[in-house]
């Protein structure tokens, strides 16, 4: 049986392999009431070699972070619409401003985080109930359509990755004009391959903003960062690239 790296060892290995300077990059992970995957996102940041900083939705200042992950979960129970209430959190307006500013704060929205980003109009379109109406948890194959964003640069264009998908309201919709524009501008970041798990328009799994600093997707890269705790295909670590991408970009940018 293959040896599985432990969290502690993997972090040490990242350090040993010269990734130490990345530890300087501070990636904020926002917790809303009802967030679920915040600790997982923080672990992914650590495993990628960065420093995870927890951010609280009610904070009115954005702590000194170099990037932000808005994690998955059911913020405010998803009761009204997924992301609808969280969007109005004090910290969200800071994040929106920073993402749109010249500094172009990198922001990754995963699942509920993606829904919050669309509700905040940082990303176009919206999510409605899965076409089959059920919660669905599965290992999902995605194609990386755009590897020039802050969060995808460590992938090859067209690379297929497998990461978990798990949601009830994951059907991405936007009007035809918006969809055409997204395609034309290369802002479709990920597409479902083989099976469209929720009826999303044009098999879209994730998109980015025009500048490429804001990325949102429904599947969960933070659940595919450690062998033995993610999908069984490959090493189960196909999601790690999201976090190393932003860390490398940040370090590259700082140099």
């Amino acid at each position: 049986m293959t040896e599985l790296p432990l969290i502690g060892e993997a972090a040490a290995a990242a350090d040993a392999s010269g990734a130490r300077e990345l530890a300087g990059a501070r990636i904020g992970v926002v917790t809303f009431p009802g967030s679920l995957d915040d600790r997982d996102a923080a672990r992914a940041v650590r495993l990628a070699g960065g420093t995870a900083v927890s951010l609280w939705h009610a904070d009115t200042v954005l702590a000194d972070v170099d990037a932000v992950v808005i994690p998955g979960g059911f913020s405010y129970g998803d009761y009204l619409r997924a992301g609808a209430i969280s969007r109005f959190a004090p910290l969200m307006s800071k994040i929106v401003d920073a993402a749109n500013s010249d500094a172009k704060l990198p922001v990754l929205g995963i699942c509920n985080g993606f829904q919050i980003l669309t509700e905040s109009h940082l990303l176009p379109g919206s999510m409605i109930k899965n076409d089959h109406l059920k919660f669905l948890c599965r290992d999902q194959v995605l194609r990386v359509e755009n590897n020039s964003t802050m969060w995808t640069s460590d992938y090859a264009a067209g690379q297929e990755i497998t990461i978990p998908l798990k949601n009830q309201d994951g059907q991405y919709i936007a009007d035809e004009k918006t969809l055409d524009a997204l395609e034309a501008e290369g802002r479709v970041a990920f597409r479902y391959v083989g099976f469209n798990p929720n009826g999303s328009r044009r098999d879209i799994a994730g998109i980015s903003n025009a500048a490429g600093n804001v990325v949102g997707l429904m599947p969960h890269p933070e659940h595919a960062v450690e062998t033995g705790y993610g999908p069984e295909s490959n090493a189960g670590t196909d999601g790690l690239g999201f976090f190393t991408s932003v860390l490398n970009k940040l370090v590259g940018g700082a140099k």
Binding site: Y76, G77, Y79, L80, I85
Partner: protein
């Protein structure tokens, strides 16, 4: 085409977590005039042609059997709306 609107609400004595979340959020957005919120469902059934009494009766029956769960919900309204 005419539509029949069916409104379904959780029974008043039943906890409505959705309404509760909304009523908590409203004041944070400056909407301070509402003391309670309940969230229900609205169905619009399209009828091809005229809404006869028989069709309206069907809608009422569908409302009670399929569109609502009588254990926890009430059908509060069934009405015809002309398009």
């Amino acid at each position: 085409m005419p539509r029949i609107v069916v409104d379904v609400m959780l029974k008043p004595e039943i906890l409505d977590p959705q309404g509760k979340a909304i009523v908590g959020a409203l004041p944070r957005l400056g909407f301070t005039s509402f003391s309670a919120v309940r969230q229900g469902k609205r169905f619009e059934l399209t009828v091809d042609g005229e809404v006869t009494d028989a069709i309206l009766a069907q809608a009422r029956e569908a409302a009670e059997t399929l569109l609502s769960n009588p254990v926890i919900e009430d059908v509060v309204n069934v009405e015809v709306v002309e398009a």
